[in-house]
């Protein structure tokens, strides 16, 4: 077929043609891991669509052939470069006629050129002419029965870099419920007791994808009636202390040599490596997304007015569903901000960064009484009761060793800032 590739271990085209998502699914196939049946409409078809203003000739027949045997599918965007949340996804699409798939693919392709997506590409140096692929995949149902569920998993802890699987699982739900943050998830290890066979399969998958990418990885998975399926894989893209620890550990494990390990860490990662953090091992009450780094401890105030009143007595953390202009006084009075809704680009996140206050957003389903003492970590998104131990780096020993290797490479052992030591090594390694 000209515009469509059925995904299997034999596909050997690049992410430029297949898009990152389909390319990852091909990797999973090659590793012998379970992937629901899928095909991809290539970025080339999208480019033709963008150029001519209509889907390319012949795609309709190819789609009609490719969708034979599918009943319910998802149709997802997948650009060669990640553009999270910028484009359309169609879930639970029942294929009653060939036109259903055609219009879903057209919707995904059209979403490449929304003004918001264009702005995102301008700001991130992504060429407008790349186009996106569209992955059409048989739906698997995490809400099928009591032995079904869905989740996301990192092969290592993205907060610290520690070599333990990390993620969220939601029993009896479909995948979007996890990614959207609409439902309260459970820590990934809960899966071990409840579905030991799925857990064992997941651990095996994480170890195989790590060996392939030679890096910490992220997967999305669903299990249906006790059967594990992988829906997406990509490198973990850790930052700060976690990036330092993963690179150092991978060198110790013999996966990377020291030079590669040094190049894995950007000097930019070191800027926040000493930002205060909640110490590892504290009981985490809830987890959201870190929107402005730093740790804040204070009593919960649930309105701007009480925040202003209570702040006279001592530090407060303003806890709101989301924020509006009415909350500005409360935000100004608070030492930190916690919201139930929103992401890193929300009103609360923008204001928190403007004020330089630690912020955690998107913590759903958490009920906190006014006056309760809590601590929030704006790097990891963790929320802890009371005032836990705070550390200024979670990777002190790792950082020390990595910078030692950097000095070995540069030959310069004079006292300098961390980022300078790493930059000097990079300069030598990149010659």
């Amino acid at each position: 077929m000209r515009w469509i590739r059925r995904l299997s271990a034999e596909v050997d085209e690049t992410a430029e043609v297949l898009g990152g998502k389909a390319h990852g699914l091909v990797v999973l196939h090659r590793l012998g891991l379970p992937v629901p049946e899928a095909f991809v409409v290539t970025t080339e078809a999208c480019r033709a669509f963008l150029r001519d203003g209509r889907l390319p000739h012949g795609l309709d027949e190819e789609l009609a052939t490719a969708t034979g045997g599918f009943d319910v599918v998802s149709v997802r965007s997948g650009a060669p470069v990640s553009m999270p949340g910028m484009m359309n996804t169609v879930l639970n699409l029942e294929l009653t006629s060939a036109d259903d798939a055609l219009s879903a693919v057209e919707a995904v392709f059209s979403s490449w050129n929304t003004p918001r997506a264009r702005t995102y590409r301008e700001l991130n140096d992504i060429p407008h002419e790349l186009g996106t692929a569209a992955v059409v995949q048989r739906m698997v149902f995490g809400d099928r029965d009591e032995h079904s569920g869905t989740g996301v998993a990192f092969s290592r802890d993205p907060n610290t870099g520690a070599n333990v699987p990390f993620g969220d699982v939601l029993f009896g739900h479909q995948g979007e419920a996890v990614v959207s943050g609409r439902s309260r998830t459970l820590p990934l290890p809960e899966l071990a007791d409840r579905e030991p066979a799925v857990w064992a399969g997941l651990l095996d998958a994480l170890s195989r994808v790590e060996a392939h990418y030679r890096d910490a990885c992220y997967v999305e998975f669903t299990y249906e009636s006790g059967e594990l399926w992988l829906l997406q894989v990509r490198p973990g893209r850790f930052s700060g202390a976690a990036a330092v620890r993963v690179a150092t550990d991978l060198a110790d494990e013999g996966v990377l040599d020291r030079r590669e390990a040094l190049l894995r860490v950007s000097p930019h990662h070191l800027r926040h490596v000493r930002t205060p953090r909640i110490a590892p091992g504290e009981d985490v009450l809830a987890r959201g997304l870190g929107a402005c780094p730093g740790v804040a401890t204070g009593r919960v105030a649930t309105t701007a007015d009480t925040a202003v009143r209570m702040a006279v007595e001592g530090p407060v953390v303003l806890v709101r569903p989301e924020t509006s202009p009415h909350d500005m006084r409360g935000l100004a009075a608070a030492t930190g901000i916690l919201t139930a809704r929103g992401g890193p680009a929300s009103h609360a996140a923008v204001v928190a960064r403007a004020m330089g206050k630690p912020a955690v957003v998107g913590v759903s389903g958490l009920a906190l009484d006014e006056g309760t003492l809590i601590t929030i970590d704006g790097t990891s998104g963790e929320v802890v009761l009371g005032s836990p131990r705070i550390v200024t780096t979670t990777a002190d020993a790792h950082l020390h060793r990595l910078l030692g290797w950097a000095d070995d490479v540069s030959g310069d052992r004079s006292p300098r800032a961390d980022a300078d030591r790493l930059s000097a090594a990079h300069a030598v390694l990149r010659g």
């Binding site: 003004p115 918001r116 702005t119 995102y120 301008e122 700001l123 991130n124 893209r237 930052s239 950007s266 000097p267 930019h268 990662h269 800027r271 701007a304 569903p321 989301e322 509006s324 202009p325 009415h326 909350d327 500005m328 006084r329 890193p344 680009a345 929300s346 009103h347 996140a349 923008v350 204001v351 960064r353 403007a354």
Partner: protein, 200 residues
């Protein structure tokens, strides 16, 4: 045409507790005129002043009065369909505005997101360029709104001024200050919810 008393009353509903400077910017009235309106509204039991902070806010009765008067204004101008349509346009633009503000505060570098220290003029120029493009599209929504209800006309004026101040070198006027483009946009969001009676 909303009277100055309604403008001041409604500004307090949209921005929450505020001082004279902020209310003057929001309404387009002078500070003495704002204060005079606030005092009359206080006599009527609709506003109250916090002496410790020198700021004003609505009373419960003031909020109820604004709900009624703003709804009456909307219905008597038969503006609900137009404002609702403009609000739909606003909701399409809103995530992009928040992306742009975030891009002004944080930037990608070697695959890492770092604080934008504004030392790279080419990056800032690129964000401002996209902001200008966004502003042209926001202007369409603002024009629809002010055609429906003239009191909405202030938003385009204020947003344009905030963008101009940023271009003139006041970098905090895009996303960070209480008079920033982002802050004005958030007020407009609140105003649309209040005008249409949509709960948060």
């Amino acid at each position: 045409m909303s009277g100055p008393d309604l403008l001041v009353l409604h500004a307090l509903r949209c921005v929450g507790t505020a001082g004279l400077t902020r209310l003057a910017a929001t309404t387009g009235l002078t500070e003495p005129n704002v204060e005079s309106e606030l005092i009359d509204l206080a006599v009527a039991g609709l506003t109250t002043r916090d002496a410790d902070f020198g700021v004003w806010s609505l009373t419960g009765a003031g909020r109820a009065a604004d709900v009624k008067r703003i709804t009456d204004e909307l219905e008597s101008a038969a503006a609900r369909p137009a404002v609702t349509a403009a609000y739909d346009g606003f909701l399409v633009l809103n995530p992009e505005l928040l992306d742009l503000c975030t891009a002004w505060q944080l930037r990608p570098a070697d695959g890492v997101v770092i604080a934008n220290d504004h030392r790279d003029p080419s990056y800032d120029a690129r964000v401002l360029d996209r902001f200008a493009d966004f502003h042209r599209r926001a202007a369409v929504v603002c024009a629809e709104l002010s055609a429906a209800l003239s009191r909405f006309g202030r938003y385009h004026v204020r947003l344009t001024e905030a963008l101009d101040r940023t271009r003139a070198g006041k970098l905090e006027e895009l996303a960070d200050s209480t008079s920033s483009y982002h802050a004005i946009w958030a007020e407009l969001h609140e105003d649309l919810l209040a005008t249409l009676g949509i709960p948060r």
